[in-house]
């Protein structure tokens, strides 16, 4: 598996190289680059399967590299020290990212995922989706990428009625009665979707307020959804849910 490493700091490149050589022998490092133009050149030259891309590169961002490439037929693992802005979009696009200093387990998992994707030949639309998301203000995100076993599903937020936790899996209940299971925790999606108005009513429930029909009082706290489903509201979340629903 050919790879190109992009980071503006030499020590980070050195470090990533050392770790990959030691823990991911299937990765062959074709080139490293410390700035945007070098990176574009290296990718075009080596046509890698995988690109490790630092998000914050001095005055520029790793996303610039993606924008400058007409064909993005490679997988990307983002590497970032700390970045509020980029990371949200990356998460919405269900792309993989690593935080510095790099955790070896996470690195191995991410590389393995890429390897799996390459074998199943899933068409990579996530990067296009990411670049689209980046153009909009963060709050205007209207679609989320949900990674499933064999595909990535792009679901408009308005079609999500609710999410329910099942250990480290999350079930998405859609308006067309479809039920999607994603192998990520509800907490991750709660954090991601809360800015879009989704309500965490309960430890294992996340609800789109657009589908709330009424607030049933008889049993302490239960929300009746337009689909007829009843969702519990925990005592801890009662006040915040109440306030949020009043605002609508």
């Amino acid at each position: 598996m050919k790879a190109v490493l992009i980071d503006d700091e030499i020590s980070n490149l050195e470090n990533l190289r050392t770790l990959l050589e030691k823990h991911c022998p299937q990765v062959t490092i074709m080139a490293t680059a410390q700035n945007v133009s070098d990176a574009v050149g290296a990718i075009e030259k080596h046509q890698p399967h995988l690109v490790f891309l630092d998000i914050q590169m001095g005055e520029q961002t790793g996303f610039e590299v993606l924008k400058l490439l007409p064909k993005r037929n490679f997988e990307v693992i983002f590497v970032t020290a700390y970045d509020h802005y980029g990371i949200q979009a990356v998460k919405f696009a269900a792309l993989d990212y690593l935080l510095k200093p790099i955790d070896i387990e996470e690195l191995i998992t991410a590389v393995n995922k890429v390897e799996y994707k390459l074998t199943t030949q899933i068409q990579n639309l996530q990067l296009d989706f990411l670049l689209q998301q980046l153009k909009k203000p963060e709050k205007d995100v209207s679609t989320i990428a949900l990674p499933m076993q064999n595909e990535i599903r792009y679901i408009p937020l308005v079609e999500i009625i609710r999410c329910e936790a099942d250990n480290s899996y999350t079930y998405f209940f859609l308006a067309n009665s479809e039920k999607i299971v994603v192998s990520k925790s509800l907490k991750e999606y709660a954090d991601l979707l809360r800015p879009n108005g989704f309500l965490r009513t309960h430890q294992s429930h996340l609800v789109n307020p657009k589908y709330v029909k009424s607030w049933l009082k008889e049993d302490g706290g239960i929300l009746l959804l337009t689909s007829g489903q009843k969702i519990p509201v925990s005592k801890a979340n009662k006040e915040t849910v109440k306030q949020a629903l009043q605002r609508i």
Partner: protein
């Protein structure tokens, strides 16, 4: 009216027969009241003739203290029936002549000065007046109630005596009075008191005297009265003359002089006049209201209590307001400090994690000693950031910057120097912590991170008189100082400087930035810091 004209006309009448009898100057005639004229000693001075008094229209008073002999004449106009006239003469109240007719045989024609009118005139007699009082009564039987009385006073007029004072006060029913106020010089008027009464001794000449009151403070006469009342006060079987003075004429407490003197048209000196004048000074106190001791105690208590209450309320509100103000100030300062803290602790997380990544690299390259060294630096740096210390010494700041710059050197190979003025006591001069770090970070980020090993950062601590000047210079590409979004570090620094100026009011922090394509110099001056 006619009579008055007549008496004045007759003033200069000169008799044709000049009689030098008993030293009397018959050429000088004085009006003596009514139809009477008089002639006195040629040597006599101080002839006070024909004084008329209020309420005594038919009485003429002639005061002749220096006169020995006196001639009294009577003048009639031509149209008067002289045979109807009678006259009475009393010497020291003893009648000498009573109701006697005019001896028409004695009448002569006289001229009144240059006047054409001819009067019929006769003398009523020549008298010794020295030490005596001669009184004449003249009337016509046609009109017996219209008696003209003339008094010729040959003795010194006695001074009036104030017998005593009386005070009239209101009772529940009517009035009461206090009369045992002899010899009083201090007078106090309570609210219920109405008037002060002055009681004079009784004399035959009461009508002669008038009373005035002078405010001794302003020297103005505030009261004058010629009227005497009778009744109420009795001495033996005589009513004593008195006047009542309303309390209200005394506008304020103070000394007032009561003056009683004869109402004579004086032609003597004021010093001589004093002989006839009675003066009495009263010290008047006006009391708004007199209270009993019990009332006074109650009122005092009430006033004291309400004053105390007002004071307490005032105190309470003042305290409350002060407390509020103090709290507000404290809060402002706290807010500023809190903001400063939040600004201070924003050491770029991007730097932190990249630094950790650098250490990870050292570990993975098996540079264990270096990894340890940088890990210690990292720990010290983060500790400084997490520490809430407001002030750190310059040497601590230097260590912090050393640590920081060496961590950054691990990421980007550049050179740096930290210089200082020789006479600067690094160990003891304190500055707000993390003051320079944002500028240094900015120098690394925007200045030399692109230049790698050619980059150079120079930091200097300089003593300039009483100012501490801190400079950060880099040889990077520079940036537009007008553009505010040239990095979190600089933006934060601006607000930090503002906050610092809010907290340390006595010192002024000033920031100067010069940026060219050949580098950037940041100059932070702490005015009067040393």
């Amino acid at each position: 009216m006619k009579r008055i004209i007549f008496t004045f006309l007759s003033f200069f009448i000169a008799l044709s027969t000049v009689n030098a009898q008993k030293g009397i100057n018959f050429s000088h005639m004085y009006a003596a009241g009514g139809k009477l004229l008089m002639c006195v000693d040629s040597s006599a001075k101080n002839v006070h003739y024909n004084n008329i008094f209020p309420n005594q229209p038919n009485t003429s008073f002639n005061y002749l203290p220096d006169v020995h002999n006196l001639s009294i004449q009577i003048n009639f106009r031509n149209n008067i029936n002289i045979q109807h006239y009678r006259y009475t003469i009393l010497v020291d109240n003893k009648p000498i002549v009573v109701n006697k007719s005019i001896d028409t045989a004695q009448l002569k024609n006289t001229n009144a000065g240059g006047d054409e009118e001819v009067f019929r005139s006769t003398t009523l007699g020549i008298f010794r007046i020295q030490g005596k009082i001669i009184t004449t009564l003249v009337y016509s039987t046609e009109n017996p109630l219209d008696i003209d009385k003339s008094v010729f006073y040959g003795k010194p007029i006695p001074r009036a005596k104030i017998k005593f004072f009386s005070k009239l006060f209101a009772l529940d029913h009517g009035f009461g009075s206090l009369t045992d106020l002899k010899e009083r010089t201090n007078f106090s008027f309570a609210k219920k008191d109405k008037e002060l009464t002055i009681i004079k001794d009784k004399s035959d000449l009461d009508y002669l005297y008038y009373t005035s009151i002078k405010d001794k403070q302003t020297n103005k006469i505030i009261f004058k009265s010629t009227a005497w009342e009778y009744g109420h006060f009795v001495d033996g079987n005589a009513y004593l003359p008195h006047i009542s003075i309303d309390k209200n004429i005394f506008k304020k407490s103070g000394d007032y002089e009561i003056i009683i003197q004869p109402l004579i048209r004086w032609n003597i000196s004021s010093k001589e006049k004093e002989k006839y004048t009675t003066r009495h000074t009263l010290s008047i106190t006006l009391e708004e209201r007199s209270y009993t001791k019990k009332e006074l105690l109650i009122y005092t208590l009430i006033v004291a209590c309400s004053l105390g209450l007002v004071f307490l309320i005032f105190l309470y509100f003042t305290k409350k307001r002060n407390k509020q103000k103090l709290a507000e100030k404290e809060q402002q300062k706290n807010t500023a400090k809190l903001q400063l803290n939040s600004v201070r602790s924003q050491l770029n997380p991007h730097f932190l994690f990249n630094a950790l990544s650098g250490i990870q690299n050292l570990m993975n390259k098996n540079e264990i000693d270096n990894a340890n060294k940088y890990l210690s630096k990292f720990a010290r740096l983060t500790r400084n950031v997490l520490d809430d210390k407001e002030l750190i010494s310059l040497s601590q700041e230097k260590t912090l910057l050393d640590d920081y710059l060496q961590m950054e050197q691990l990421r980007f190979g550049f050179k740096y120097e930290i210089n200082r003025s020789e006479n600067l006591d690094l160990a003891n001069i304190e500055i707000p912590s993390m003051l320079l770090q944002p500028f240094v970070e900015n120098a690394v980020k925007h200045g030399i991170s692109q230049k790698a090993t050619d980059g150079k950062i120079m930091i200097a601590f300089i003593k300039q008189a009483n100012d501490l000047v801190l400079t950060v210079t880099d040889n990077g590409n520079g940036f537009d100082t007008e553009k505010k979004n040239t990095g979190l570090g600089l933006l934060l620094s601006d607000s930090r400087i503002q906050l610092l100026n809010n907290i340390y009011k006595e010192n002024r922090f000033t920031l100067a930035i010069q940026s060219t394509t050949n580098g950037t110099k940041i100059c932070l001056t702490l005015t009067d810091w040393l």
